[in-house]
């Protein structure tokens, strides 16, 4: 078995063992749970240390349509760097969960599902085969369903879990059909070969990447398939950290990056991506501004940040997207785990129950502040560099250096800069409502979380602080991501910030901070029920456009089945009996009538025969 495959199998084995030995002690379950991703992390690190790698594709199985034992894996800078991040975040989430889920009766299955989730994400990351990719992609959807629905006694959790699964599954119609088109037209399931073949034909590229984009919109929570993500808050905080940072949402962006040459061959799809990303970016940020729940603020911020990545992909810079994906993973995991720590301490995630926690939870305060600064994009945190790289890519596109039209670059640039301002405002609002000001909510003693929970925060704060420097020309990241790429991309994205973009973003940042400071947030937290807070009615749109019509269809079909089909079938039976009853009436025992009938029939038969013979 090859190293990348081992990396996938280890957490999967941990998951299976965790599920099979459901009744084992908590300590054993925790050990297995941490061991899985940690072992994968070690493998990933070893793999990274081996650079440069021999061949991009490590082929460990049959491929071809009828031998779907798809174990072909790909080892390149893109895969290894993202795999490192996934393993790192997943390990920390598992460690954190030991403390966070201390009182959870179903801890072992929970931990097993997280391990499975990690394995599935790693499968997507290292997949060198489309079918392998699909397996990881869908299993991830299943795990998100299971984990969001962890507290399935609660109505909210059940609803959110089903919603997450179904909304992403709707996108997966496109994804599956897209993969079918890709396999069908190229005749291979190996990703590099299929992508190369598809990118040489712009029609195929447009159809396949457009369809796959649908799946990406679902997984990466982009408009209009984004509404599951804020609801996914019903899951425990570590799960949110995992979903929002390392797995699930990252998978969408990652898959576009993996199939990027094909997307580059279709400016139409890239343009659509850009428009969608702009809508999502700004809309989600504005919505985040009015949320009344800490985790929902972060959730909408994830939607908005993911849009940055999609926008980067749309304007032709895969590396900027991946860069932002990685740095976002660190700070967003940090933010969610920190939010989880607050919830753990306060017992609620509503912003009306927090405030003034600075003194009682110093470690959480420090790390969360770092995370928020990174989210806003303050120099020299990682968020600054990665966001700059997106802006630089947009600037490039605006100058007409990319496959998309310049106006797309301008659009992305403008919206991204405006979004920076809004981001700064909502981050500041969240920070102030959580940490400064008077303490709201029920009075209870607040303590810092145990080390098993705050150590992961600190560990995540390190890359949040320092990861950005890897993007400078002296840094390793640009070379890393490009390393061993099966198809060297035409534009080795420059991830270094430019002067113009720095100026723009700093201005926007200052405006945002100004707005944030002037807002009287604590007096108007709201109950999260306003039109804006509920996500501009997208849920209602789902309801009216998809759910209700479907339910009507279900009712029609059910009624049609019992009313028409069922009745037709029983009608045949009833009709047979009824016609028998009717014919029975001729059996009245009158021999003369019988003979008359028989004779008449005989005559008719004879006449017919005679006529037939005569003619």
């Amino acid at each position: 078995m090859t190293a990348p495959l081992v990396m996938v199998v280890l957490p999967a084995v941990a998951a299976v063992v965790g599920l099979l030995l459901g009744g084992m002690s908590r300590a054993a379950a925790a050990t297995i749970a941490v061991a899985g991703p940690l072992a994968a992390l070690v493998v990933a690190a070893l793999l990274a240390a081996e650079q440069p790698w021999d061949a991009p594709i490590v082929d460990a199985g049959f491929h071809g349509v009828l031998q779907p034992f798809p174990a072909a894996t790909v080892v390149d800078g893109l895969a290894v760097s993202v795999a490192l991040m996934v393993c790192f975040v997943a390990t920390l989430v598992q460690i954190y969960s030991i403390g966070y889920m201390k009182d959870e009766p179903r801890y072992s299955s929970y931990a097993a599902f997280i391990s499975l989730f990690t394995a599935a994400m790693l499968a997507v990351v290292v997949a060198g085969d489309l079918l392998f990719l699909v397996v990881g992609w869908e299993v991830m959807g299943l795990c998100s369903y299971l984990l969001i629905g962890q507290n399935w006694e609660q109505h909210e959790a059940r609803r959110a879990a089903v919603k997450a699964f179904l909304v992403t599954k709707v996108g997966d119609i496109g994804f599956i059909v897209g993969v079918v088109v890709l396999i069908g037209t190229t005749g291979t399931t190996l990703i590099p070969n299929a992508v190369q073949a598809a990118s040489s034909d712009s029609t195929v590229a447009t159809v396949a990447s457009g369809l796959i984009l649908l799946g990406v919109l679902g997984k990466s929570a982009q408009f209009p398939l984004h509404a599951w993500l804020p609801d996914a808050m019903a899951g425990p905080s570590p799960v949110s950290a995992l979903i929002h940072a390392a797995t699930m949402v990252a998978a969408g962006v990652y898959v576009v990056a993996r199939l990027y040459p094909m997307f580059l061959a279709s400016p139409e799809v890239l343009t659509a991506m850009a428009v969608i990303a702009c809508i999502t970016m700004l809309g989600a940020a504005v919505i985040a501004l009015v949320q009344s729940d800490m985790k929902r603020v972060l959730a909408w911020s994830t939607v908005s940040q993911l849009a940055y990545m999609v926008a980067a992909l749309a304007v032709g810079s895969r590396d900027a997207a991946v860069f932002h994906l990685l740095s976002h993973a660190f700070f967003k995991a940090l933010l969610f785990l920190a939010a989880g720590a607050v919830i753990h301490a306060v017992g609620s995630s509503a912003l009306r129950d927090t405030g003034g926690l600075r003194q009682s939870m110093p470690v959480t305060f420090m790390t969360m502040s770092i995370g928020l600064l990174a989210l806003v994009g303050v120099f020299p945190l990682s968020g600054f560099f990665s966001k700059e790289s997106v802006l630089v890519a947009a600037e490039h596109a605006a100058e007409g250096d990319e496959v998309v039209a310049p106006w797309v670059g301008w659009l992305v640039l403008v919206v991204a800069v405006v979004t920076i301002a809004v981001t700064a405002a909502y981050a500041l609002r969240l920070w102030m409502l959580t940490w400064v000001g008077p303490r709201r909510g029920e009075a209870r003693p607040i303590h810092e979380t145990p080390p098993v929970m705050y150590v992961p925060l600190v560990l995540l704060a390190v890359p949040t602080l320092l990861f950005g420097f890897t993007a400078l020309d002296v840094g390793a990241l640009p070379t890393w991501i490009q390393a061993n790429a099966t198809q060297p991309l035409a534009t080795p994205g420059a991830l270094t910030p430019g002067l113009l973009t720095i100026a723009l973003s700093v201005t926007a940042l200052l405006v945002g901070v100004g707005v944030g400071l002037r807002g009287r947030w604590s007096s108007g937290i709201g109950d999260g029920r306003s039109f804006l807070a509920r996500g501009l009615g997208v849920d209602a749109a789902y309801d009216w456009l998809a759910v209700r019509p479907l339910l009507v269809l279900v009712r029609w079909v059910t009624e049609f089945d019992s009313g028409v089909i069922q009745r037709t079938v029983s009608g045949v039976g009833v009709g047979t009996v009824a016609s028998g009853r009717q014919l029975q009436r001729t059996q009245r025992g009158d021999v003369q009538r019988y003979v008359s009938a028989a004779l008449t029939a005989l005559i008719v038969a004879v006449v017919i025969t005679l006529v037939a013979v005569a003619t």
Binding site: Q67, G149, E153, I173
Partner: protein
């Protein structure tokens, strides 16, 4: 070749055993179920013998053939054999029969009478295995019919609810279907002068005139479609499932439904290729309607067993879609889908039967919530089977459906655009399938448990279900195990169609 006795032995052993039970009288009641397990185990061993003797590198041709003249006046031969198309189904039948026998040992459904129940199950086994082995049209028909009577008794005597009505609907509907099929067979036999399925498939059938082929194909397909069941001939299925006892449902969904699609691949496609090429797009349309309709109707059902029954309509829709592509990928996918559906739906019905045994109902209105809490292992298995059934990649249910779609992208028939529309609609059906299974899990598995605890999965249940669970995972991870057997045989079938293509 000295191992030719294997296939007849597979039929004779359960047949003799059921006769023994019949003769044994009342004193057999106490040991009948164990006897059933023993006989099914012998069957399983014989099956392993078949697997061992089977030459994988010759999967395209018939193996272990037995041929004896039977009724020369009617051209009927007693002709058995196995190839890549039938081998997986025969293995599945043996396995599910064994699982059902093990399950029956401690769970004889009301009103008892273990001797009769086991005897009928063994007789059912004879019919099922015979159908998959027969290489003679009349023999095929005979075994096809042998299945009906035991099933009728199973539903009518050991069933629940409106069992008589359901059993009567089942038998009348399917007999109607088989009679129609028989007429089709007779047309083929009369026009070609042979009932030998192999000879017919290898070019004898193609010699029939276009109209005769079309008539025969429509009749045979009509009969098989009832069994499959293809929309709109599915009405008997939900009723039969709801009323049938657990083992009845398992065998009904697990094996009985496969006889229809097996017959299409084994008989209709290679024997009547010209007609099949004409019919294929319509078949595809019906298949896709079935997929969507099954999913929507599932969502609207108020009974767990009916939900699964309608889900079968959807799954068999994917199988039909695969067949209708007439391509190598599509037909392989169909055969795989057959097996996967047999395993997964068999497991689902076992689990639902377990739930029914514990709660006494399968109606949503009266089922307690929170199975995950009251019986975590049973709840897990329900979730597992449901997830497998909704086509989760990595489990067996996915490959049949996905590769049907791949097949539909490149059908062997010329209507490419039409098939691509069908492809997209079928993909929509996959999502809808997720919706109704999640509804089931949400209603049954999740929620605050209204009942503190329930007996969790017992040892005998584990024993009879584990093979199915294991196969679901194994075939999900290594579908090639099935494909390497089916592929050469499917290529033979598709080759015979190739000549009929414009």
């Amino acid at each position: 070749m000295t191992s030719n006795w294997l296939l007849p032995a597979l039929l004779v052993v359960p047949l003799l055993a059921s006769v023994i039970l019949l003769v044994a009288g009342r004193r057999a009641e106490s040991w009948a179920t164990w006897f059933g397990v023993g006989v099914q185990s012998v069957g399983l061993v014989l099956m392993l013998g078949v697997l061992a003797e089977y030459k994988r590198n010759m999967s395209g041709s018939m193996q272990l053939v037995v041929d004896a003249e039977w009724v020369p006046e009617l051209l009927v031969h007693f002709r058995l054999g196995v190839d890549g198309i039938s081998l997986p189904l025969i293995a599945l039948t043996s396995l599910l029969g064994w699982c059902a026998a093990v399950y029956t040992v401690r769970r004889v459904p009301e009103p008892g009478r273990a001797r009769a129940l086991v005897g009928l199950l063994l007789l059912l086994q004879v019919g099922l295995l015979g159908t998959f082995m027969a290489l003679d049209l009349i023999l095929f028909f005979l075994f096809f019919e042998v299945v009906l009577a035991p099933m009728w008794f199973l539903i009518a005597f050991w069933g629940s609810g409106e069992r008589r009505r359901a059993a009567n609907t089942f038998i009348l509907y399917t007999v109607l279907g088989s009679v129609v099929m028989l007429v089709g067979f007779l047309i083929v036999i009369v026009k070609t002068g042979s009932a030998d399925m192999v000879a017919l498939a290898n070019g004898l059938g193609e010699q029939m005139s276009g109209n005769a082929q079309l008539a025969a194909a429509l009749l045979i397909l009509g009969g098989l479609a009832v069994k499959t069941p293809m929309w709109p001939f599915h009405t008997w299925l939900p009723d039969a499932h709801t009323a049938a006892p657990t083992v009845g449902s398992v065998l009904l969904a697990g094996v009985l439904l496969k006889m229809g699609t097996y017959g299409m691949v084994r008989i209709v496609v290679p024997t009547l290729p010209d007609a099949m090429v004409q019919i294929a797009p319509y078949l595809a349309a019906f298949a896709v309607i079935g997929i969507l309709y099954g999913a929507l109707a599932s969502y609207g059902q108020q009974d767990l067993k009916r939900v699964i029954a309608f889900s079968s309509v959807g799954h068999m829709g994917f199988v039909l879609l695969g067949i209708s592509t007439l391509s190598v990928v599509g037909i392989n996918a169909a055969l795989f889908g057959n097996i996967a559906h047999g395993i997964i739906t068999g497991l689902l019905f076992f689990v639902v039967g377990g739930i029914k045994q514990r709660t006494g109902t399968t109606a949503f209105a009266s089922l307690p919530r929170g199975l995950y809490a009251s019986a975590p292992r049973l709840g897990f298995l329900l979730g597992f089977a449901a997830v497998a059934s909704l086509g989760m990649p990595g489990l067996a249910g996915f490959w049949g459906e996905f590769l049907s779609l791949v097949g539909a992208y490149h059908p062997a028939v010329p209507e490419h655009l039409f098939y691509r529309v069908m492809l997209v609609l079928a993909a929509v059906g996959m999502v809808l399938a997720a919706a109704y299974f999640l509804r089931v899990l949400r209603r049954v598995g999740q929620g605050a448990a209204s009942q503190a605890t329930m007996d969790d999965v017992a040892a005998d249940e584990w024993l009879s279900w584990t093979p199915l669970i294991a196969l679901t995972v194994v075939l999900g991870l290594a579908p090639v195990l099935v494909f390497q057997v089916t592929d050469p045989a499917v290529r033979m079938v598709v080759e015979s169609v190739a000549g009929a293509l414009p």
